[in-house]
């Protein structure tokens, strides 16, 4: 806690908003944590469960963080001891799901090219503005993954954008290993692919050597015993046999898993299908490599591609492979014919929809290109409301293996509810309240930064004094509001 | 190994040796002596080709041309088993004048005369001969609005037309970041001012006494503007530097301008050759600009060949390399075709001049043999 607050104080310098933000931040956080685990009920104008029809003047009951009842006011009984949020003028929606982001971290990219032994947990910054912006724009579940400037990055985790510590925020650890098929500066796809393949062959050689040592050891022991005339009390393998859709190493059961180099463990988990993969592709040609690597190493069925907007050209390949994708925040791409110099606009989600590829949309920032706006863009290009909403709720939820947990309002799901002033995809409606796990964590009437941005209301004592000093923390510039990943 | 390669040249050699006393070196006559050459194919320059045509020249001037042209007594007749054409002409060069061809201090200096920057002995100039180029237009490097007056020079000898063109840049090629003008509208305002009440060279240009070399700029819009500019002030001359000629051919035609087609390079290549084809369709007169020394002399023929590959008629390409270029540069009455009275600037080729696969066997400037394919010397000793 203390450390958290010192970080708040450091932030104050960063923006004339930070101070109020800090106050506002801890106000709701404290009040919220006070309520944790209690009974909570919401009475809304309409409840859009996205798991069935909309319920006019519906009620949602949340107990111990989970939804215990959803239904019409007359059919659902609100426990006498529940705290009630009575907002008949608002509409209730499940919180939106950010399928993949590298925001909210101290620094998104580790300089080591192959670093499967790292965990974003150690880099997530609970007080990053990013998480606050998530609440403003209705995002209640975030899959934080290592940045795309790597070959194999850290293992990521799913969090809720609320909590003073990473533990409080945690929804699901080890949500996947980040892989990038696209080269960093000064390198090419050839060397990127080389390093990527080397990582897996490296793992394989390592395991084979372990097994070989064990085998040689056993054989030697047997011969020694024969020589000495002892009966060899043969003990079986203490380890676990390797199982993978890709390659396996014979006799790994001889090796206790504890003896596997811990730097390689997560990679082995990936190959054995215990950890999913999020593979970034910056160009259509990278998709081929991504699928090749995933297939050869047996984790294709646990792979999600994180695509640059240019990758729409590889849609057929992706459809055949049957993997799902997270789309870039740029939804309209302009392609130029090199011969005629003619320009064409391609609406990328349209391509993936047509090929029947499950896709999730992603945010670029907290307002003009947040999930709600991206979904709206899809409707502008002919998607139905259901299709558009699915791409920011249920589809990403299933990608994270959280179907029924988040993305819809059904009994048993975590109590993440948005209360909006109207259609959440409309540019003129707002997220008024956000409830996460049955705790009220956002109240727009108390959101100073939004008020400042939308109404130009300058809170007392926070008037800007000339140019803002830039905060330097251990010699590095901190990521800003929308600290991107690439 | 050796013999195989020499096939194409030997014919020429033996013939020469047979008819002429002494090795070909002696065949090249001193000033004043007459010489006759019979070539399998003689490109007159107007597009016609004379089979086994004879050209006779004396005192550096052509005295006879034709199939059965009479060869005066005592005049050596060289049999050439190949093609003969007038020397090639490149239309916008800085060969031997790098750093001398542009005055950075002033944007407008019409009085500057490029002829004074010409160094006929410069190696970059001599190299042109190896590719059969005998005359070129020396022009200022882009970077000024009005860079000066371009001159037509003969390789290795003298300036043959001092005031060929007034060089004008209407597009961004005339801009610099640290001296007026820095903007297109700025340069246009300045040029309009000069032409509003034209004096000196500008008056000459408006009256049509002095042709202009108009840099068409980089974008299609700039080229279009350059053409409009020429029309507005009734300027005559040729458009250079543009790579977007194809789309604008009709406009160029309407403005009565000629064109110097820029050097062919892998990147701009496609547009250049498409431009050439379009221009010939719109029958706009055009020649080729090599851009020496920044480009290799061989690029002149290579560009022509690329245009032919893209559909340009070889005859038109041949004229563009010689007579049309001469006419555009205002020296059609001196060089560019094999006609009586014109300078004996001749090139002997192993094959068709527009085929990059043909070798330059020998080059004559004003009747003097100034270049011979080197392997002839090698033959001397085997």
């Amino acid at each position: 806690m203390i450390q958290q607050f010192t970080r708040f104080l450091q932030r104050i310098a960063q923006s004339h908003l930070a101070f109020t933000l800090g106050l506002f931040g801890c106000v709701f956080l404290l009040s919220a944590s006070a309520q944790a685990g209690e009974k909570y009920a919401i009475r809304a104008g309409t409840v859009h469960t996205l798991a069935g029809d909309a319920i006019p003047n519906g009620v949602i009951v949340i107990e111990g963080g989970r939804i215990t009842a959803v239904g019409a006011a007359d059919s659902v009984k609100i426990p006498w001891d529940a705290e009630v949020l009575d907002v008949p003028h608002l509409e209730a929606y499940p919180g939106f799901v950010e399928a993949h982001t590298s925001s909210g971290m101290d620094r998104p990219n580790e300089s080591v090219q192959v670093a499967p032994f790292l965990d974003v947990r150690d880099s997530i910054d609970p007080v990053a503005f990013y998480f606050e912006d998530c609440l403003r724009s209705g995002i209640t579940t975030v899959n934080v993954q290592h940045g795309s400037a790597c070959v194999i990055g850290a293992v990521g985790m799913v969090v809720k954008p609320y909590g003073m510590t990473v533990e409080e925020m945690l929804v699901r650890p080890r949500s996947g290993l980040k892989i990038s098929t696209s080269p960093g500066r000064g390198r090419s796809r050839a060397t990127q692919a080389q390093t990527l393949r080397a990582a897996f062959t490296g793992l394989r050689t390592h395991l084979e050597e372990l097994v070989q040592e064990k085998r040689d050891g056993k054989d030697y022991a047997r011969r020694e015993a024969l020589y000495q005339g002892r009966d060899l009390t043969g003990e079986g393998g203490k380890g676990r046999a390797m199982s993978s859709k890709g390659w396996t190493v014979e006799g790994l059961e001889l090796v206790p898993r504890g003896e596997v180099d811990e730097k390689q463990e997560t990679l082995l988990d990936l190959v054995e299908g215990r950890v999913p993969a999020w593979i970034y592709c910056a160009a259509p040609m990278d998709v081929r490599l991504a699928l090749e690597i995933a297939t050869d190493n047996g984790f294709l069925d646990r792979t999600t591609l994180v695509l640059d907007d240019s990758c729409w050209k590889a849609a057929d390949l992706i459809a055949e492979a049957g993997v799902s994708v997270v789309l870039d925040a740029t939804l309209v791409r302009t392609e130029t014919d090199p011969k005629t110099e003619e320009e064409e606009e391609v609406f990328i989600p349209g391509v993936f929809k047509e090929k029947g590829i499950p896709f999730a949309l992603s945010s670029r920032n907290s307002t003009s290109e947040s999930l709600w706006f991206q979904a709206a863009m899809c409707m502008a290009h002919g998607f139905t409301r259901a299709e558009a909403l699915a791409a920011i709720t249920t589809t990403p939820a299933s990608m994270l293996g959280l179907t029924g947990e988040v993305g819809s309002l059904s009994v048993g799901a975590s109590g993440n509810v948005l209360l909006t002033s109207g259609d959440p995809l409309s540019v003129t409606s707002f997220v008024e309240y956000v409830v996460i796990d049955g705790n009220l964590v956002y109240d727009r009437s108390k959101d100073v930064r939004t008020q400042y941005l939308l109404e130009g209301v300058v809170p007392e004592g926070t008037e800007s004094k000339g140019e803002e000093p830039e905060v330097v923390e251990d010699g590095r510039k901190k990521a800003g509001d929308d600290g991107g990943s690439r | 190994m050796q013999t195989h390669r020499k096939m194409n040249t030997n014919a020429f050699l033996l013939a020469a040796l047979a008819l002429v006393a002494g090795p070909p070196a002696n065949a090249s006559p001193g000033e004043g002596d007459a010489l006759a050459i019979r070539a399998e194919k003689l490109h007159v320059g107007d597009g016609t080709i004379i089979e086994n045509g004879i050209v006779v020249f004396e005192n550096g001037k052509i005295t006879e041309v034709g199939k059965g042209a009479p060869v005066p007594k005592g005049v050596v007749l060289i049999e050439h088993a190949g093609h003969l054409s007038a020397g090639l002409i490149a239309l916008r060069e800085q060969a031997g004048a790098v750093g001398e061809s542009n005055d950075g201090t002033r944007a407008v200096m019409p009085e500057a005369q490029l002829g004074y920057a010409y160094n006929p002995r410069h190696s970059q100039v001599q190299e042109l001969l190896r590719e059969g180029i005998t005359s070129f237009v020396i022009a200022p490097r882009p970077g000024s609005l009005v860079g000066g007056r371009c001159s037509v020079v003969k390789v290795g000898t003298e300036v043959i037309r001092a005031n060929a063109f007034l060089s004008i840049c209407t597009g961004s090629n005339g801009l610099t970041s640290n001296r007026f003008p820095t903007s297109l509208q700025g340069s246009q305002a300045e040029l309009e001012r000069r032409f509003a009440w034209p004096k000196g060279e500008f008056l000459a240009a408006v009256k049509g006494d002095l042709a202009v070399m108009l840099d068409g700029g980089v974008t299609r819009a700039e080229t279009q503007h350059a053409i409009a500019f020429a029309r507005r002030h009734g300027l005559k001359g040729m458009l250079v530097g543009s790579t977007r000629l194809g789309e604008l051919a009709p406009k160029i035609r309407a403005a009565g301008l000629g064109v110097a087609i820029s050097n062919f390079s892998p990147n701009t290549g496609r547009r250049v050759v498409e431009g050439a084809v379009a221009l010939s369709k719109a029958d706009v007169p055009f020649g080729f600009a090599l851009g020496a020394p920044y480009n290799h002399p061989a690029n002149l023929r290579l560009t022509a060949a690329a245009c032919i590959r893209a559909g340009l008629k070889p005859g038109v390409a041949m004229k563009a390399l010689t007579s049309t270029a001469a006419t555009l540069a205002g020296v059609g009455d001196q060089v560019g075709s094999v006609q009586v009275g014109l300078a004996a600037d001749l090139v002997l080729w192993s094959g068709d001049p527009t085929d990059p696969g043909s070798q330059v066997m020998a080059v004559y400037v004003d009747g003097d043999e100034v270049f011979q394919a080197e392997d002839d010397d090698e033959n001397g000793d085997d």
């Binding site: 005629t340 320009e343 606009e345 502008a380 939308l454 | 001296r179 509208q185």
Partner: protein, 429 residues
Amino acid sequence: MILTPMLQAACLTLCLPTFQQAPADGAEVKAERASAAAEVTVQPAAPAAADLRIHAGRVYTGTGEILKNALIEVRDGKISSLRPGRSAPEGVLQVKAVTAGMIDLSARLNTGFSSVEQVTEVQPHLDVAGSVNLYDKRFARLARTGVTTILINPLDRNVIGGRGVAVKTHGPMEIEARRLSSRAILRGAIGTEPSSANHPAFGRPTDFFSRRPTTRMGVEWEWRKAFFDAVAATRLPEKDFPGSAELRAALAGERTLMIQAWTTQDIRTAVYLDEEMQREGFGDLDLVIDAAAEAWKEPAILVRNGTSVVLPPHSPGGRVGDGAFFSWNTAKLLVDEGLTVCLSAHGAGPGPSSLGSQAGFAMRGGLTFDQALASVTSAPAALLGMADRLGAVAEGMDADLALWSGRPFASTSRVVGVVIDGAVVVDPR
């Protein structure tokens, strides 16, 4: 210049969407990717009655009224008739909604550094038209987002950059033919941008950038000097300089003066300049402030002087150029104060960066639909002095139309078709 319908069709086949000849196989390409691409095809030979007929579920005329099931007829590039309550005849273009084509007074569609003459800070006599590249793809991109008219200004690297030129985003490929006959707008800037290239002489080799101004103060000084000299020149001919007439025209209010000023301090400077000119009896500037991001901080100054503003595009965090903070309710605030407010996109991007989206964001900031519509159509038309031709859907007006898939400016709808001077530049079918 008015194109005849046939010419328009011809010009379309030639020009769409890059204004360059599209060969046959280009067409195949489109066919192949129709699914993914925003289709751009050519309006077939129109029925004899009118050059073009469009049936719209709703026409937002821009005069406050909404015509349902209206039939729009176009002849010779003008709207020849507009009748509500009609059923759609055979083969007419059918769309959900129609507004007047949008107008962006700060599209920033110049050719960069070659669009401003920096030999001296004050170049009122130069016209940016000379540097415009009509073959620039951004014209077509703008058209695709429903922007049909733009004002092109020189890059703001001078204190007074010169005259801007207003053009349609599609039409003849000669700038003089494209130029809209409107009172030209004189462009200048206050703030850090105009002085950014300048530096003191010492240290570096001296070129003409070693000069004043190097500060905001210097910029302001250049402005006042320019106007005082222009006035002085009427009495002392030897003091005359190129463009002084332009400045006097601005003082006389015959030329609109558009000044870029992001921050509140620069907005003040601009208004004070105008007020000083009035005090001196030099005249009264017809002042428009472009990129007036911080106008929300001190609207009173603008109100008192009746200054019109063009607002920059909204930014997610609120931070915009010159260190200014642009709050999303600025448009609302100023419109309610009775000022003329225009929106701008500073570019030609699709989606959230388009002018239509900016109108939507202004509505998020509180603007009503009608106010938002005005801020991208009639208001800028008025500032161009072309309210009689542009900015509304009415008989006799230019046939510049944006065709929408749903309610205009809603994030769930977009521009699916565009008509400029009666030519279908983007076909919704």
